[in-house]
């Protein structure tokens, strides 16, 4: 039985796909058989971020429509054999995903994988609903910014009421806060909501803080999940997230403004 993790947010562009790529690769690096599924039908992008866009033959919707088998559609990651990617389709048909179809695919994935990471589209429409419906855990990706925090709270309401677990009266989905694009400098200047502020408002367990980082664009440019950039702040922050998720106690980093060395103080901005 796999554990199903949804990466969700409500608001668009906050870092869900970046996070899905990073945590699925992170789980694979820790030796767990992991599948990452792109639920953003019509706006497939996970393949690009994972660097497997030229290897897409069949997609999620083909499998749902039984035009291809799951094994034909799954792309094995070239860097880590534990990791497989199920790309979204580029169809413009909004109804391509069905609850029964998604359930069937997730059940089949459950037979061979330890973790299934669902990259949710933005919004609260069908794709976002189905991405979270079957989840056991939810990583709520939030930027320290008013509309993102509000949408995250809205999403928390949906996770608590519109999921399979809620409808069957089972234990609720475990919700985790992942604060991304965090800038300690701007927090210090009083220009950006702090980790404490966001936690106070959302009252969620903090899985991690990912700093605003140049490494993220470099990683997406080259199709490499940023977690593989071990020297980068964002890569390290995502690795901490994985270890925390798997139960290790790892203190939070990248929350305080880094003190510059003498060189930085003399020549930095």
């Amino acid at each position: 039985m796999a554990r199903i993790i949804v990466v969700t947010s409500g608001k668009g562009g906050v870092g869900k796909t970046t996070t899905s790529a990073a945590i699925s690769m992170g789980l694979a690096l820790q030796g767990h058989r992991t599948a990452v599924v792109d639920f953003d039908i019509g706006l497939r992008n996970l393949d690009l971020i994972m660097g497997c866009e030229r290897r897409v033959v069949y997609d999620f919707v083909n499998v749902i429509n039984q035009e291809a088998t799951l094994n034909q559609a799954l792309i094995r990651d070239k860097r880590n054999e534990n990791l497989h990617i199920l790309p979204a389709s580029q169809t413009r048909d909004k109804d391509a995903l069905t609850k029964e179809g998604v359930e069937r695919v997730l059940n089949e994935l459950s037979e061979t994988f330890d973790y299934i990471v669902c990259d949710s589209p933005a919004g609260i429409e069908r794709g976002a609903h189905l991405a979270m419906y079957f989840a056991d855990d939810a990583v709520v990706v939030t930027n320290p910014e008013v509309s993102s925090v509000r949408d995250s709270d809205r999403m928390l309401g949906l996770l608590a009421s519109k999921s399979r677990r809620a409808e069957l009266g089972q234990d609720p989905i475990k919700e985790y806060l992942l604060l991304t694009r965090y800038s300690p400098q701007r927090v210090k200047l009083g220009e950006m909501l702090s980790v404490e502020d966001v936690q106070e408002i959302l009252a969620l367990h903090l899985l991690g803080v990912i700093p605003e980082s140049k490494a993220v664009l470099n990683a997406s440019n080259s199709g490499t999940p940023v977690i593989l950039d071990e020297k980068s702040d964002a890569g390290q922050a995502y690795m901490d997230v994985i270890r925390r998720y798997l139960g290790e106690h790892v203190p939070h980093r990248f929350i305080e403004q880094e003190r510059k060395g003498l060189f930085g103080r003399l020549f930095g901005s």
């Binding site: 925090v149 509000r150 809205r154 309401g157 009421s161 200047l189 009083g190 220009e191 950006m192 408002i201």
Partner: protein
């Protein structure tokens, strides 16, 4: 960052404003969520009825639903305008 910017930004800690606005908004939206679905429609219809007789604003009416083991209490609170501002729509 220039000196002027520095003083300006330290005088207006916008993050604090953001936090306060969010706290109010999120508390409001959570209480809306916990209401049964029909309550919003009921609130709107009641408001329409009241407006046939008195001129009141959208926010002049508040409705709360409280629940304990044995009963549910629906509390309706309407703030009527001053005598001078009242303008009856019907007679």
């Amino acid at each position: 960052m220039g000196l002027i910017d520095y003083f300006r930004s330290s005088r207006q800690p916008t993050a604090a404003i953001a936090k306060e606005r969010l706290q109010i908004l999120v508390a409001h939206e959570r209480s809306e969520r916990s209401k049964p679905d029909y309550l919003i429609a009921l609130q709107k219809e009641l408001l329409d009825v009241i407006r046939k007789y008195v001129h009141v604003d959208q926010d002049a009416i508040t409705m709360t639903m409280e629940q304990d083991d044995s009963r549910e209490v629906l509390e309706l609170n309407i703030v009527l305008p001053d005598e001078s501002e009242r303008r009856p729509m019907h007679r």
